[in-house]
Amino acid sequence: MATVHLPSGLTQFTGGLSTLTIEAPRVADLLATLAARYPELGPQLDQVAVAVDGEIYQDPGYQAVRPTSEVHLVPRIAGG
């Protein structure tokens, strides 16, 4: 069960929860589970990057998520 940390701006869509545990083999599945569990959160996730154990992926997809992983949703950043 990976631990998922949400930025405080998104906790309004999860009834105030900022830390959740989600069972998901890959990042895409994790996000899908999140969106299913909190429908209002879904549309907010397109401007989000995902950090898995410190490595930030701008295009979260099929990166593996281990049960011990720390996952953070991070604002997407446009480079200059």
């Binding site: 950090a51 992926y57 604002p75 997407r76 480079g79 200059g80």
Partner: protein, 758 residues
């Protein structure tokens, strides 16, 4: 990793494309001419905010030499989103920005475009296009845009990130980051400083205006030559905006005369392709400098409130910030990045940051070197400087006390890996500049800066020639010497001299998909692909040597550009170099081509600290930069000259931002200083030599420890200059630029107040 001894990495070879650039042979966007080529020109809105009632092009079509005219109606509606570089951008907005459909949202917004046999005929045609506007009141600042019943830019806009939000609004999004309890933290603080800061709209200032040539063939295929940071990004945008299959679009990047983030979004290319399709002749379009300022993508003007509380010993107990960023005509300012970067160098136990993305009647902002970070750092590092003054603490010590280190969680969430904040601050403390004496009316300022540095998609191909030389092909236009860096990596992996490696910037048909040159990612992400592709070649060489020696490949070692045979080999029992094996390619299996591609996670945080000495003339408010030293953790400097160059260039842009650069608008929202005379970028006589100190804390995510370096250096100068002016004048200026009129007004106002009030 960084203990590794490098043979080529870290040397300073002459760049392979250098001779063409110093002799004028290098071809940039506007240098191409094709047979039968037409000249395009764009009609731009004279109003900052208006509804388009009608566009009549009949008179224009009658002008001799006119071959095609397009307006918004010539482009399909699209609701698709496009992952453009790091941000998901709404294609509808980009298309509407390329050419307006129903509303013009800033002075200079494109309304129509023509192509003619010569530039004069094109301009004559523009003057004969009759556009009827229903002029609306513009909003030019965050305050105007968020005032009650302010004119609304987008009727359907709803604030993203706010539960059950309803329009009408000009606030496109709200974001928030929080940790701990700021109110409790502020209660525990011995000193609390709160200020409101403002920074102006500023431009990247690249010397080459946007330029492209497009040819739409009878076969329905489009070829685009253009000056861009991202050929693949141009192909996707052009295909989506013009409404053709991306497979029919080929983009050939010219040399690029500077971009700094401003040449990722397209402005001219879709127009040129559409015009060429109508005229069935190639079309060249080049922006004037006036158009570049008014109608490309400057960065956000901002309003930022910061409040920081700290204990007597300098430990920060709480920090809060409200960031308001102008997005320009469409949603999408770097407010989120500013929020994530504001407190990044520090480990504050309690913080609360909210960020707002606000649309205004100005050109849509585009990325400008660490987008969003310089403004946030200006506010935070200025406030920390005031905290240090109130606590009578040395500016370095205050920052050392709160500096983040490996294992601390970044404000945006994940824990930091190895980072250089403390190493940098120690280097500052021990550098002679930090303790050098100062004269009258002189001041010294210190500031820290942070940027993420991007990862994303990169591809590379390494071709080995029978003579043992190699070519390396990538899709990243070379702005800051990345060709030379890539050649160094191939030399390091294959052990061949860097002069015998030919680095090539390819087009979208010949290079594997690659994300933009930007986000400080090329040396890191594309560099990794180049290293892996070179290692692919090395493994093939070992396999060929195994065939020559008829031994198992595992038994062959590779050292310093040679395959080393295991003991007991009869035929040619001596090391075989790249040329030796290359010469026998045909006999051992044919040509050797190395290939690699990857999706890299973000490159790992980059930090920098700058010291600025300056003198302020108390009678005129003029500021003169006396001495400037920039420290930066670069992970590993592949080509140190170009790493230094990135830091010096970024510092100069930051100094310009701090001292004299700003968009000046008249009350009706039209830019008054759209030229290099009155948009005052630093000139050679404005600056001293900029000393650089490269600190190498290896980045574990890259085989050589490379971090991105290009964007961090623009972050610290704003506050470094402002903190130096504070010491030189005794006044805390909170609004940029620190132009002579603003500084003198502050000095005269302070001299009228009783002593002691800062």
């Amino acid at each position: 990793m960084s203990e590794r001894v490098f043979k080529y990495i870290g040397t300073r070879p002459i760049r392979h494309d250098g001779v063409d650039k110093v002799t004028g042979r290098a071809n940039y966007g506007a240098d191409l001419t094709l047979p039968g080529m037409l000249h395009g020109a764009v009609l731009r809105s004279p109003h900052a905010h208006a509804r388009i009632v009608s566009i009549d092009t009949s008179a224009a079509e009658a002008v001799a030499g006119i071959k095609a005219i397009v307006t918004g109606k010539d482009f399909p509606e699209t609701t698709a989103k496009l992952a453009l570089g790091e941000a998901a951008i709404d294609l509808h907005d980009i298309a509407d920005n390329v050419i307006a459909r129903t509303k013009v949202l800033y002075g200079g917004h494109a309304v129509a475009a023509v192509a003619a046999t010569n530039p004069d005929a094109a301009r004559e045609a523009l003057s004969k296009i009759n556009v009827v506007y229903d002029v609306l009141k513009p909003v030019l600042t965050v305050d105007q845009a968020t005032a009650p019943n302010a004119p609304i830019l987008h009727d359907a806009m709803v604030t993203k990130g706010v539960k059950d939000a309803k329009g009408p609004t000009n606030v496109a999004a709200r974001m928030e980051l929080k940790r701990g309890d700021v109110e409790k933290g502020f209660a525990e603080a011995d000193v609390v400083v709160e200020r409101e800061y403002r920074t102006p709209t500023v431009h990247q200032g690249y010397i080459e205006p946007h330029a492209c040539v497009a040819r739409f063939g009878e076969d329905g295929r489009a070829v685009v030559w253009c000056s861009t940071q991202g050929p693949f990004a141009v192909r996707d945008q052009v295909a989506a905006i013009v409404g053709i299959d991306p497979a029919l679009v080929k983009v050939i990047p010219s040399e690029i005369g500077g971009g700094f983030g401003g040449k990722i979004v397209v402005y001219l290319e879709p127009l040129a392709v559409a015009l060429s399709r109508k005229a069935q002749r190639p079309v060249k379009m080049v922006m004037s400098r006036d158009e570049v300022f008014k109608a490309s993508g400057p960065t956000s003007g901002t309003k930022i409130r910061v409040k920081i509380g700290a204990k007597r010993d300098g430990t920060v107990t709480a920090a809060s910030a409200s960031l308001y960023y102008e997005a320009g005509a469409y949603r999408g300012s770097p407010a989120g990045a500013g929020m994530a970067c504001a407190y990044a160098p520090y480990k504050f136990p309690n913080f609360f940051i909210e960020a707002f993305d606000v649309v205004v009647n100005k050109p849509k902002v585009a990325a400008y070197r660490a987008p969003g970070s310089p403004m946030a750092s200006f506010a935070v590092e200025s406030t920390l400087d005031e905290i240090a003054r109130e606590l009578r603490l040395d500016a370095v010590d205050l920052r050392l006390k709160n500096a983040a280190a490996e294992g601390d969680h970044a404000p945006y969430g994940p824990a930091y890996g190895p980072i250089g904040v403390k190493t940098i601050l120690d280097a500052v403390k021990n550098h002679p500049h930090w303790s050098a004496p100062l004269g009258r009316n002189q001041g010294r300022g210190l500031a820290l800066g942070f940027w993420f540095n991007g990862g994303m998609n990169s591809s590379a191909t390494v071709l080995l020639n029978p003579d043992g030389s190699a070519a390396v092909i990538t899709g990243n236009p070379d702005i800051g010497g990345t060709r030379a860096a890539q050649a160094l990596m191939v030399s390091e992996e294959l052990g061949i001299p860097v002069e015998r490696v030919r680095p090539i910037v390819a087009d979208t048909d010949t290079s594997g998909m690659t994300d933009v040159t930007g986000g400080s990612r090329v040396c890191y992400a594309t560099g990794m692909a180049v290293i892996n592709a070179a290692r692919d070649v090395r493994e093939q060489l070992r396999a060929r040597a195994a065939k020559i020696w008829d031994v198992d490949v595992e038994s062959i070692k590779w050292e310093d550009g040679q395959a080393i045979p295991p003991p007991g080999v009869e035929k040619a029992p001596h090391p075989l170099g790249v040329a030796d094996i290359g010469a026998k390619m045909a006999h051992t299996g044919g040509p050797i081509v190395g290939r690699a591609s990857l999706y890299a996670p973000m490159a790992g945080p980059g930090f920098g600290a700058h010291i600025c000495d300056l003198e302020v003339d108390p009678e005129t408010g003029r500021t003169t930069i006396l001495r400037y030293t920039a420290f930066q953790d670069v992970g590993k400097a592949v080509h140190p000259s170009y790493v230094e160059g990135q830091i010096q260039g970024g510092a100069a842009q930051g100094i310009g931002w701090a001292l004299n650069e700003e968009y000046v608008y008249n009350p009706s929202g039209l830019m008054e200083n759209a030229g290099f005379l009155d948009y005052r970028m630093p000139v050679a006589s404005d600056l001293p030599m900029i000393e650089t100190v490269l600190i190498e804390v290896a980045n574990p995510l890259h085989p050589y420890g490379v971090r991105g370096v290009g964007e961090v250096p623009i972050v610290p100068p704003l506050a470094a200059v402002a903190n130096a002016v504070r010491q030189a004048t005794g006044i805390r200026f909170t609004e940029l630029p620190l132009s002579p009129p603003r500084v003198l007004a502050g000095i005269e106002q302070a001299s009228r107040q009783p002593v002691g009030v800062s």
